[in-house]
């Protein structure tokens, strides 16, 4: 795992607020639990509300402390999402590679983030449950398995649906969303893109490491007081002793300011 504090020389450390979004049951919590505890539970109960976890990610030149908001995917919690993505420097938008509708939902989240979240937010599109496909846990072979016509890729919304209907998976392969379709979309929207398996662990740490690397140096606050790190205030909390979730960018967030 990348969290181990390698080396004795103190590296600059900074907090990054990261939010996970996506349809219910695509594996958001499982990805987080794999990243944070290197653990996996079958048939995990749905998250209620949101869970807050932290994990360090060690890069060659610095240490990133992720403050992770793992949100519930059910629709009734959707109205709370702005509270979690507001001020977030990174977002993981997760879909299930065996469920085309979940990619459609993911695209909605991406659009909402691009519209409402901090302008510099780093977004990663993550197709989870790779273990259910023939590509298995081996990410290097995660090649497009669909015979998706190129022409369909102009219309993202349509492509998701069409693909699910059109694709006759080979026996034992539950994949319904081709790698190419999702990666093309990710490229168009300038998103990081990964296919992962929280169950086998494939690519999970890679996603977080890639995000850590993609966060621009300029948006990182280093040299936080030790106290601020301890109390675990929000990523941008260093300047204020008491901070609401919406201390920044209240203008862009619909939910308005706290208190």
């Amino acid at each position: 795992m990348s969290e181990s504090a390698s080396g004795n020389a103190p590296k600059p450390s900074s907090s990054v607020k990261l939010v996970l979004l996506g349809e219910a049951a695509v594996g958001k919590s499982s990805l987080v639990l794999r990243f944070v505890n290197d653990d996996f539970q079958e048939n995990k109960e749905p998250t209620i509300g949101a869970a807050f976890l932290t994990q360090k990610c060690s890069l060659p030149t610095r240490t990133i402390k992720f403050e992770i908001w793992d949100t519930a995917g059910q629709e009734r919690f959707a109205s709370l999402a702005p509270m979690y993505y507001r001020n977030a420097q990174a977002a993981l938008v997760v879909y299930d590679v065996t469920k085309p509708s979940s990619l459609t939902k993911a695209k909605h989240w991406v659009a909402e983030l691009q519209r409402q979240a901090s302008p510099g937010i780093v977004i990663a599109l993550v197709g989870n449950k790779l273990d259910l496909t023939n590509d298995g846990g081996d990410a290097s072979s995660a090649s497009p398995s669909a015979r998706e016509p190129e022409s369909a890729e102009g219309d993202e919304e349509g492509a998701g649906q069409e693909e699910g209907d059109a694709q006759d998976a080979t026996p034992g392969d539950a994949r319904k969303v081709s790698t190419r379709e999702a990666s093309t979309y990710a490229e168009e929207e300038s998103l990081l893109f990964f296919e992962t398996s929280a169950k086998t662990g494939t690519n999970v740490v890679d996603v977080f490491t890639a995000i850590a690397n993609a966060i621009p140096e300029s948006s990182l606050k280093t040299g936080k007081g030790p106290a601020a790190g301890q109390t675990g205030l929000g990523g941008r909390a260093a300047d204020e002793s008491r901070v609401n979730l919406g201390d920044r960018n209240t203008a862009t967030a619909k939910e308005g300011c706290a208190c």
Partner: protein
Amino acid sequence: MAHPDGQEDTRNGSDVMKIPSGSSNPDKLERVRSPSPEGVRPPLPPRPNTLNLLSDESASFAALQSEATTAISRAEINTQTQEGANSAYSTLAARSLSKGPKAKASLSQLARSRATSDAGDSASIRSSVLPSGDIGDMDALFRDFVSSMPDPHSSAASLLHFAEFPGDYENDAQFLTEFDPVGEVDEDAGNEELVLGHWKQKQKHYLILSAAGKPIWTRHGDGGLISTYVGVIQTIISFYEDSEDHLRGFSAGDMRFVVVTRGPLHLVAISRMMESDNQLRLQLEALYMQILSTLTLPSLSHLFSVRPSTDLKRPLQGSETLLSSLADSFTRGSPSTLLSALECLKIRKQHRQSINNALLRTKDGNLLYGLVVAGGRLVSVVRPKKHSLHPGDLQLLFNMIFEADGVKAGGGESWIPVCLPGFNSNGYLYMYVSFLDLRDDVNESEDISKDESVAIVLISPNKESFFEMKEMRDAFVEGWPALFNASPKLGYLTITRLMSIYNNLHQGIHAKHTNVKVHYCVSRSASSFAWVTPIFEFYCVAEPNANRNALVQGASKITQWIHQEEERLFIVGGAVC
């Protein structure tokens, strides 16, 4: 319920359950309440009087509404001088109490200590014992019970034989499968008969459907499998509705069907477990409260007023596990639901106070309620002066936090919008939950069981106050004293049989139109009695041939002991902030 001695063995001893109950005369209570240094004591949680709750359905709903917590005007509120969460669950071998003092002595002692009590905010039994007139009545009544031993048909103590949930081996084995899934029907439906067979074997079913007949949630079997059965029930219910009648329940073979209609929802319980209609109705009421807790009343009403054929499954998505774990705890037997009470952890009074104080010291301005819960038992409560927590609301929270896995499995700290329908069914509060790992030798691979886990629950009306709550938790945990040791739990089967006996007692003593204070009951497997006073309810189960005199003496000893240990066993009022 607190386990005072931590040694549960129902085979050899008698089992005792006691809860405080609301008294009936607010004026008298006002007088006996001593002034507290912190000013006037806030109204305590309106623990719904089970009887009132059940005798009038519309009243029951109203009683759980928000005004209750703030009500200063409602007469009933003042009667609730006991923290509704209080209850004790202790074991005591009746046979060992051969020379206990007579009941009369114990009751007069209660009365005496009332006179000398200097307790203020923390007083309960002492300060809330009714004036001597009532005590005299109680005394006479209980003496009557003792002296009437040879006459089993005494007016005060009724000897009745009840049907009991059978406790033989085959049923035990069958009951073990009660919580198993019925299984999935194959694609070609080849095993449908088998799956339906499993479904029919269940002792207990719950169905929730919309008034338009859409199945919303079923404890066993999915909508497709049992749609015909849901259709039949829907037809029966609407047949009565069409004739402007209201179907409350019916029997079919050994099954009892109970129907509760709440707004746009029909809730149905089907039981083979010999529970009374009232008890089943309470369980359905709690399931309805869980739905409100997920959606809030206005949004539930709105959904159905906009579109009567709304499929509520979607908005409830993800909360099915909460309904199921609630249902399972009813099926296993839930003293909390039966008595509208909560279990408290038994700890030293000073320890409880130091926890209270630590919570108060670290309190954030956004905090509404603060709770410390160990192994599903309440350890400490901090609450605003004018608000109490409803046991029904707390039960929903405990179910969510300890019984269903959604919160604990999240692995971090949680921030959960939750509606507490007893507090206010119109909107959400926001709940911070953090589990503490208090074990010394930490083996991280081992999951903390329910009995070991300690949770800090901080509830705020401000949805943006997660980090304030987290800060409060961190500050609180810093000076944390190691106080808890978990008590062993009874197995399912023992609990279920025992609960069946408690159910009978409860049913007998709270039957409509009865005014029984002591209710004695003998069956082949147990002799048991219930004793109801304005201050507490006392339930006791012993061997079938146990000496009644000894039981009564045991009861009186236990009351004395509880009186002595009261602030270890119960949370009296909680800390007020």
